[in-house]
Amino acid sequence: MATLFQGVGAVTPFSASTSLHSNKLHLPPRKSLSLSESRGAIFVHRSDARLNLKPATPKQDLLIPNAIATKGDTSTPTKSGHELLLFEALREGLEEEMERDPRVCVMGEDVGHYGGSYKVTKGLAEKYGDLRVLDTPIAENSFTGMGIGAAMTGLRPIVEGMNMGFLLLAFNQISNNCGMLHYTSGGQFTIPIVIRGPGGVGRQLGAEHSQRLESYFQSIPGIQMVACSTPYNAKGLMKAAIRSENPVILFEHVLLYNLKERIPDEEYVLSLEEAEMVRPGEHVTILTYSRMRYHVMQAAKTLVNKGYDPEVIDIRSLKPFDLYTIGRSVKKTHRVLIVEECMRTGGIGASLTAAITENFHDYLDAPIVCLSSQDVPTPYAGTLEEWTVVQPAQIVTAVEQLCQ
């Protein structure tokens, strides 16, 4: 498996082993307030304002990050950890890795002097120089190919697409060279590249700048895809992606860059192939990732008020799916709802539906419901754009129908 957490232990709910037998987790019992006492290197941080009053079994003593962006941490008197925004978390992860390994370099449009279109690389060019944080011309195919060629020799480049949609121009390089070179060279060359950038539907950015490329890239063999959704997992996944020997595509979302969260001071690296349990529950499993996680959590509030108990899992790893976590959840709740931002046809949800049906068909009490965006180019008008994307009210309705 790819690299695991060092330091904070309680983030990913399941241990890294893929054995299906370990049902016991050895985590400290949950306290209702965050701790700063250290037992070895294990910290449990909770930064959401709500206190979850349901007593949880030790097995599900898990990190629940804030469901709503930028709420004050009134319930966390501790001073350990530091608060930052998601793009700062990405930058921190990037900077730590650049510090640690001189082969790590960044290339992309406006990453150097401008500091990155979303400020993820701000200050890095001044610190590390123009060659290590390289400003490229507007030629995605060329600089992605350049990153791949550099990775073949042992450098660890991070290619930033200013917007994921622009990487369609680099599809040839990503599919044919990035994904395939390790295989066609018989293992001679590894491509430890990270391709990252913001995607997803923003606020009236127009059709071409609101694309969800994970659905196009998911078939490419040889690459891994992850999607971050909180500052905590953004930093952890960024570090894991850089350390991975495989090519990794890290999907960020345009609207999530200003999320604020308190993250630990210690170094931690998350696992690239694991999903995150956001909210344990009993009645229905809701699988989601990236921005839709927040819509789901909003819907979850309403659902809880109505008496439902949804289990929310942020799948994080888009390729390969963490079928272990997902399977455990399905076996418990027997109902699945997938909420995603991809289009209906050929999206991540479609593949996930197929994967769950194939593997866990016997455990399902109802057909899998998949809520995705409409199969239309994203319109500019605000109201239309809202209807393209899944909204919390639709999630609530879907759960109600599913649970009948």
């Binding site: 290590r132 350049m146 060629g149 450098l155 295989y183 066609t184 060279s185 001679q188 991975s244």
Partner: protein, 363 residues
């Protein structure tokens, strides 16, 4: 057997680049390391830079190794042609015969630390970077002993320790990769260079349709360029040496190698729809790279006609042996389908189209 790397033993200082005084062919006795000065067939044409001199220093040993290496490459490509027609090689097969001077000349001018990356016409370049005949034929036939374990095929030859980065199927995709290799060399302050090679067109796309301006060595406009006779191994060697020094000091340079392939673009292209047979045989008579070396060897009395014929016979035998051995090699095992997809094991299951067979955990 790998190609002999005699280039590295012969680093005699080349005559000054910027002199324009032609030098005379000097006759020497045939002791291997005496230097012989040879003149290239035509002078270099330069764009935005000073062309190197026409006279190239070489030696008897280098001449002999050039001859042997090019004869080996030629034989290998012709053998690949017959194997393809015998349906032992399938899919795509792009042959390099006629262009051997480029591979051999380039190799003589650089070290293994310099990188070469090219497109799909890569069999001979692989050989010149240290590959063996068995690896070539086994890979072409899809066997396990190929350098990519049979999983790459004709268009995917790589040799990491030889600094050969492939082997790419999509036209032009290797150029940005070559840029990346050079970037990494600059990053690590290596003092090595990368040669990224690409062709002028594919299939029957004529020069005038592929590019508006066929003066390719000027294509970079402000990037300096050099036009070289690609059928003359010494011109190639001189140009590559010049280019390496130029690139280390001043940045990129374009070399236009005017070369000629005898076969069609690939095995599915007869090569006669866009050119006449007379043209092909004309080039073969006047500009063939191996013939040029043969004439030089005979003129300098380094080898006799009979010796050269012997070398060719020996090379033919070597190729035949390699083919026989490669034919004995096995097909890859089915589990190889899933190896080397990812680097670290993921524990994810993968299976073939028939879900019942071939369940494997990705290694």
């Amino acid at each position: 057997m790998a190609l002999s790397r005699s280039g590295s033993k012969l680093l005699k200082p080349i005559s000054p680049f910027f002199s324009s005084a032609p030098s005379i062919l000097s006759r020497s006795i045939s002791s291997s390391n005496d230097s012989i000065t040879v003149e290239t067939s035509i002078p270099f044409t330069a764009h935005n830079c000073e062309p190197p001199s026409r006279s190239v220093t070489t030696s008897a040993a280098e001449l002999q190794s050039f001859f042997r290496d090019m004869a080996l490459m030629r034989r290998m490509e012709i053998a690949a042609d017959s194997l393809y027609k015998a349906k032992l090689i399938r899919g795509f097969c792009h042959l390099y015969d006629g262009q051997e001077a480029v591979a051999v000349g380039m190799e003589a001018a650089i070290t293994r630390k310099d990188c070469i990356i090219t497109a799909y016409r890569d069999h001979c370049t692989f050989l010149s970077r240290g590959g063996t005949l068995i690896e070539v034929f086994a890979e072409l036939m899809g066997r396990r002993d190929g350098m990519s374990n049979g999983k790459g095929g004709s268009m995917h030859f790589y040799r990491k320790q030889g600094g050969f980065y492939g082997g790419h199927g999509i036209v032009g995709a290797q150029v940005p990769l070559g840029c990346g290799l050079a970037f990494a060399q600059k990053y690590s302050k290596d003092e090595n260079v990368t040669f990224a090679m690409y062709g002028d067109d594919g299939m029957g796309t004529a020069e005038w349709r592929a590019a508006k301006s066929p003066a390719y060595y000027k294509r970079g406009d402000y990037v300096p360029g050099l036009k070289v006779d690609g059928m003359d191994a010494f011109a190639v060697k001189q140009a590559c040496k010049f280019a390496k020094e130029h690139a280390l000091k001043n940045g990129p340079i374009i070399l236009e190698m005017d070369t000629y392939r005898y076969h069609g673009h690939s095995m599915s292209d007869p090569g006669s729809t866009y050119r006449t047979r007379d043209e092909i045989s004309g080039v073969r008579q006047e500009r063939d790279p191996i013939e040029r070396i043969r004439k030089l060897l005979l003129a300098h009395e380094i080898s006799t006609e009979a010796e050269l014929k012997d070398i060719e016979k020996e090379v033919r035998k070597e190729v035949d042996n390699a083919i026989a051995k490669a034919k004995e090699s096995e097909m890859p095992h089915p589990s190889e389908l899933f190896t080397n997809v990812y680097v670290k094991g993921l524990g994810v299951e993968a299976y073939g189209a028939d879900r019942k067979e071939l369940r494997a955990t990705l290694p």
